[in-house]
Amino acid sequence: MLARRIIPCLDVRDGQVVKGTQFRDHEIVGDIIELAQRYRDEGADELVFYDITASSDGRTVSTDWVTRVARVIDIPFCVAGGIRSLDGARQILHGGADKISINSPALENPALITELAMEFGSQCVVVGIDSRQEGSDYFVKQYTGDPTKTQSTRWQTVEWAREAQKRGAGEVVLNCMNQDGMRQGYDLTQLRLVRAVLTIPLVASGGAGTPGHFRDAFQQAGVDGALAASVFHKGTIKIPALKTQLLADGISIRI
């Protein structure tokens, strides 16, 4: 049986791993390769690297660190941030990344999702969605890497997730911005809404604070993977203990 995935997310800025609260106030967490290796050794199922400055600065991620990661890591990893063309994606995939994730550029040009899927296969193409609750609805935000450049979009989150899938996305990562860094749990209501319209894998992001939050996302929202950053970076949750707990809770997990 397919295992649910535990995915540490490493926000990258200027070659360092950083972490802020609610996408703001970034502090340096450590070196990319060291952290990647540590998480691999602890049993992470996959890694995601977000170059959080790339999209809002209008540049693409540098690929030399992608290759450095690919050389040492024997688990899959995904690279996100500022990928806005087939060439940009090709550089990263040929550099050794397994998947690319697009967010703001997909909103600017939804046809990019299809172009990438046709060229590299849907399984390489992840669409990241930054979603904020406003009233009783959820809306997609753009350029969230820099709070001064963050914009609203016309998309409701569920509709954009459906559109991304229709256009060829192989996976959706839903970042629930209200919960990000708060450690109060994933937004199960929102995740369930998005899960219901997707036949492709869905990864939860934003809000993990305890092992129980992961359990709830898997059992109650039916997500395929759960992504977290600060709880892993700060050691609040250790991946081996988390996985043992989830296994005891009856969840299919790779040990």
Partner: protein, 197 residues
């Protein structure tokens, strides 16, 4: 020498790096003469089957790969191309193993692409699976899959059973990515490199 067929796939770097971690030098090549003279050959591949075949045709490698007599390992799409045809396209593939590659049927709770770590069910031990425990998980990421038949060494289940490891004569293939499957994947690659096929 181990040759990696340069089929333009996106996982070529990962396969090379995985071999490097095992201390194995490989040569990435689209030269039929180099491929024919290699001790072992890996056929990597990521993406669509019709696109993969188009690249092999373009590089004049279809007959070359079909006629190889040394151990060959197809990885992911490279494994699917060993079969007769794929519904993806649809396209005629190398025809080295009987069977048609088809889209995995999704269902509630069974997402497609099949993405993540899964176990395989193996009818026998040794060979490519030498030293790998029966509960080992491998990393899969694919939407199309090959049928279970007489040439299946190990199967996997994602809503429906499909071939995870196949072998016919000198041609082997794995649907998962050994280069991204941690310790178990590294062992499988080592088994291939060491001639345990």
């Amino acid at each position: 020498m181990l040759a990696i067929v340069d089929s333009g796939g996106a996982n070529i770097a990962s396969v090379r790096f995985a071999l490097e971690r095992l201390g194995v030098q490989s040569e990435l090549t689209a030269d039929p003469a180099v491929i024919r003279s290699a001790e072992r050959v890996i056929l990597p591949g990521v993406g669509a089957a019709n696109e993969g075949m188009r690249k092999l045709h373009e590089r004049g490698l279809v007959e070359c790969v079909r006629n190889l007599t040394q151990p060959v390992l197809g990885v992911c799409l490279g494994m699917q191309l060993l079969f007769e045809s794929s519904e993806e396209g649809p396209t005629e593939t190398l025809g080295l193993i009987p069977g048609v590659v088809a889209l995995l049927p999704g269902a509630p709770g069974i997402q497609v692409p099949h993405m993540g770590w899964n176990t395989v069910l193996c009818g026998r031990s040794g060979g490519l699976l030498d030293g790998i425990t029966t509960d080992a998980r491998f990393y899969f990421v694919h939407s199309y899959a090959a049928p279970v038949n007489a040439f299946t060494l190990a199967s996997c289940d994602h809503g429906t059973p499909f071939a995870a490891i196949v072998q016919r004569a000198n041609f082997s293939g794995v649907q998962f990515h050994p280069e991204r499957s941690g310790v178990a994947g590294a062992r499988l690659l080592k088994n291939f490199v060491d001639g345990r096929v």
